[in-house]
């Protein structure tokens, strides 16, 4: 099965319904079926929300690729089709968040545990809201110190959690590979909500959804990623995703913050912000962590801002419909000027909204419908 990298339309015929032989796009089908499914109370009868169980007859193209993984650990191991399937699902679930009553019973009786070994507001809340809109029970564990300091090893924590039978575990951890460590030991699914400087897959997915909404496609775009690439899990996940989907990625920042061998990931590297944003369709700014200053990565914040802070003048070099993204939290006046952050090209708040949709989609795909 070949999927178009830009999420090109696939059509379905719906059999045995009043819909007749009209061709429906995948998005239409998703919306229609999810509504019908809940309307008919399908979830109460233990029916699966999995597309293959629906009475669907593929039209011109076959069914969308499924997401059948126990864990979501990184974008690196996903195929383009899986990424698009998650995005399509997220797009169809967005509608729920616009209802007066923002709740569907899909994950009723499921337990979602979030475990954050690093401070986070946005990501943790986003996961929690996503889970609640799907009626899952949520439990949040915020661990102030690392496991070593706390005195319990991650291994022990894993086994203790397992004993409580969660359906899915969402983890953020300062050590790269910590979610992989848990995934190998737990029966339940694990979602990586950011591990060290490795990956932050849900952030990349929400970024992709935001880009697709703005540009209508995910291939053939020029995307500039600017700032502290070496310490950025957001950058790594986005680079994997965008290169898989056929976009061009240009990384820019001081050479100290560009990791060696970055070109081997299919990325162009420049040390000039101007060059990076030239004709860009998307500019993705990364947060500069202020504590890096004392670690010899650059001289002063003033100089960093002068060289790599995104201002209105840079936007003139980019495409007219350029969008400016930032995973947050932003340092106003450091990596991004307030006028850009709040300007018409900024999609920073859409990113946050899409974060909920993407996380709902993942919870639904990974927890929903199974062994009901």
């Amino acid at each position: 099965m070949k999927l178009l990298p830009d999420g090109g339309r696939r059509y379905y015929l719906i059999r045995g319904s009043h819909a007749g032989n009209k061709r429906y796009s995948e998005r239409d089908v998703n919306l229609l079926l999810i509504r019908r499914f809940f309307f008919a109370g399908g979830h109460r009868f233990g029916l699966s929300l999995k597309p293959e169980t629906w009475n669907l007859k593929p039209g011109a193209k076959s069914l969308p690729m499924e997401f059948r993984r126990k864990d979501l650990l990184g974008i690196a191991e996903l195929e383009a089709g899986e990424i698009l399937h998650i995005l399509d699902t997220a797009a169809s679930l967005k509608e729920i968040s616009t209802r007066a009553i923002k709740k569907v019973p899909t994950l009723r009786g499921k337990t979602v545990v979030t475990m954050f070994y690093e401070p986070s507001t946005r990501t943790r809340m986003s996961f929690e809201i996503a889970a609640k809109r799907l009626s899952a029970d949520t439990l949040n564990l915020t661990v102030a110190a690392s496991s070593a300091v706390k005195g319990e090893t991650l291994e022990d924590t894993a086994h203790n959690l397992e004993a409580m039978e969660p359906d899915i575990l969402i983890i953020r951890h300062p050590a790269s590979g910590a979610p992989h460590f848990l995934a190998r030991r737990l029966r339940c699914g694990v979602i990586n909500a950011g591990d060290g400087i490795h990956e932050h897959p849900t952030q990349a997915l929400l970024d992709l959804l935001t880009i697709r909404e703005a540009k209508g496609k995910l291939s053939g775009l020029k995307v500039a990623i600017v700032g502290d690439i070496v310490h950025s899990r957001v950058a790594r996940s986005n680079i994997h995703a965008l290169t898989k989907l056929g976009s061009r990625v240009i990384a820019a920042g001081p050479a100290t913050l560009i990791p060696p061998y970055l070109e081997t990931m299919g990325v162009e590297v420049t040390y000039s912000l101007e060059e990076a944003v030239q004709d860009a369709d998307v500019i993705m700014m990364l947060r500069i962590q202020l504590e890096r200053m004392g670690q010899m990565y650059f001289s002063t914040l003033r100089e960093y801002s002068a060289q790599f802070g995104l201002g209105a003048r840079h936007l003139k070099l980019a495409q007219d419909d350029v969008i400016v993204m930032h995973p947050g939290p932003i340092n106003r006046g450091v990596e991004i000027s307030p006028e850009v952050a709040d300007g018409v090209h900024s999609v920073i708040l859409q990113q946050v909204a899409n974060g909920v949709a993407v996380r709902m989609a993942l919870l639904y795909l990974m927890v929903g419908g199974e062994k009901a």
């Binding site: 496991s147 090893t153 790269s176 060290g196 899990r233 060696p260 990931m265």
Partner: protein
């Protein structure tokens, strides 16, 4: 008491011998080496070694036995048992124990424990500086008298070049070789694996090859300055091999070792955050593996040592960045080295030189040859024995081995120390 080993292929690089001979061990020493049938069997215990290789006892010049202080990982006894299982009749143990072996009393303790275990010969290596802190020289004269065979900064490299200069000069006074761990700690920073494409993808902090090569260069220049002999431990990069080869060409008294994992694995082994492949220096790239093999072949590298570093689940079943460096190798070292022989990278004679004759020469300890009068330390090897590495069978207390499940060809089937059989395949 005499032991006669008959019909084996005796491989002894020190005598440039590779032929079928009978070997007689009497009173713990080599008593005779004669053509087959040349030594009367009567009244002697006979070991038939037809089709097997009879080599001078293998010596692993770089192991960590963890005692005193971390006996839950290994003890001198369990380490010595792992050694003889792996075909080693002697091991040199590093001083990074708790307390650090920087005193005659710890050195004597190690020797006493080894004597009590009665398996392999254990040669203590003492610390270059007190507490391995890199501040003051430890008492080399006392240490040598107590039985230390060398001094090292393994695991805690001497960053101050002046101190290392003094150590090289002071060690000359007592004819103690220095074994150096070449690593610039500032450049390594908090790196946990080789810096390259794999570290980038895994989001793990890298240790660049330069962190090793800069120090290899510095230490070679200090050897030149002080006209001292010097041994470089666990060489892992192409650049280090080239620097050592050049220094040898210039006549410096330098020797070097590498470990089996550096000619067998690359940084790809870390994928999946495999902490058993987390070692320092880190596993490098395919190009480095090629260079290490070439160094073993052409003599730039003198020895193969396992850097046997036992760790428990406490150190290894944790997040990658939290895990301790090190893997165990005593029971796989010979099998992995024989892969090079089977591949045709080195000859059998070279393998025995790298694992026996050369370590004995570098540390200036008895053994490493089967010449008449030498210690009766012998390793009998079955080159064609196919076996599967199973960590559950290891004599070592620890299980941190990245080669679990590997199929290897070639194994020590009998290990003899001082004329006594201390390990034998048939008995197990």
């Amino acid at each position: 008491m005499s032991l006669l080993i008959t019909g084996g292929l005796v491989v002894d690089p020190a005598q440039n011998l590779e032929q079928e001979l009978d070997l007689l061990l009497t009173d713990g020493k080599v008593a005779a080496l004669e053509p087959p049938g040349g030594i009367p069997r009567k009244g002697r215990r006979v070991v038939k070694a037809h089709g097997l290789v009879v080599a001078p006892g293998l010596i692993d010049m770089h192991v960590h036995l963890r005692e005193p202080g971390e006996e839950y990982k290994e003890t001198i006894e369990t380490g010595a048992r792992a050694a003889v299982r792996g075909g080693f009749t002697g091991v040199a143990c590093m001083p990074n124990t708790r307390p650090v072996n920087d005193s005659a009393s710890v050195t004597r303790f190690i020797r006493d424990q080894a004597k009590a275990a009665g398996l392999a010969r254990v040669w203590p290596v003492a610390a270059i500086s007190v507490g391995s802190k890199g501040e003051n020289l430890s008492e080399y004269g006392d240490l040598k008298a107590a039985g230390a065979v060398a001094c090292t900064d393994d695991g805690r490299p001497v960053m101050n070049p002046l101190l290392l200069r003094r150590a090289l000069e002071y060690a000359k006074t007592f004819d103690l070789p220095l074994l150096l761990h070449c690593e610039d700690l500032d450049l390594r920073a908090d790196g946990v694996m080789h810096e390259g494409r794999v570290s980038l993808e895994l989001g793990l902090k890298g240790i660049p090859a330069a962190a090793e090569e800069i120090m290899v260069f510095r230490d070679l220049e200090l050897a030149r300055l002080t006209r001292s002999r010097l041994h470089i431990m666990h060489v892992s990069t192409r650049g280090s091999v080239a620097l050592i080869r050049r220094a040898k060409g210039q006549g410096l008294k330098v020797t070097a070792e590498t470990a089996p994992h550096y000619f067998t694995l690359t940084d790809e082994a870390v994928r999946g955050y495999n902490t058993h492949a987390e070692v320092n220096p880190p596993l490098r790239t395919a190009a480095d593996v090629v260079a290490i093999k070439e160094g073993l072949r052409d003599g730039a590298l003198d020895a193969i040592a396992s850097d046997h570093a036992p760790h428990g689940s406490l150190e290894k079943d944790v997040e990658f960045s939290e895990a301790a460096f090190g893997l165990i190798g005593l029971e796989t070292s010979l099998g992995l080295t024989l892969r090079l022989v089977h591949e045709g990278v080195i000859s059998l004679m070279q393998a025995v030189a790298l694992m026996s004759a050369n370590p004995a020469r570098i540390l200036d300890i008895p053994g490493g040859t089967l010449a008449v009068g030498a210690p009766g330390d012998v390793t009998i090897i079955d080159l064609s024995r196919e076996w599967t590495v199973d960590v559950r069978d290891f004599a070592s207390k620890s299980r941190n081995c990245p080669f679990d499940g590997w199929s290897l060809k070639g194994k020590a089937v009998m290990t003899i120390v001082g004329g006594e059989v201390v390990s034998s395949e048939s008995k197990q």
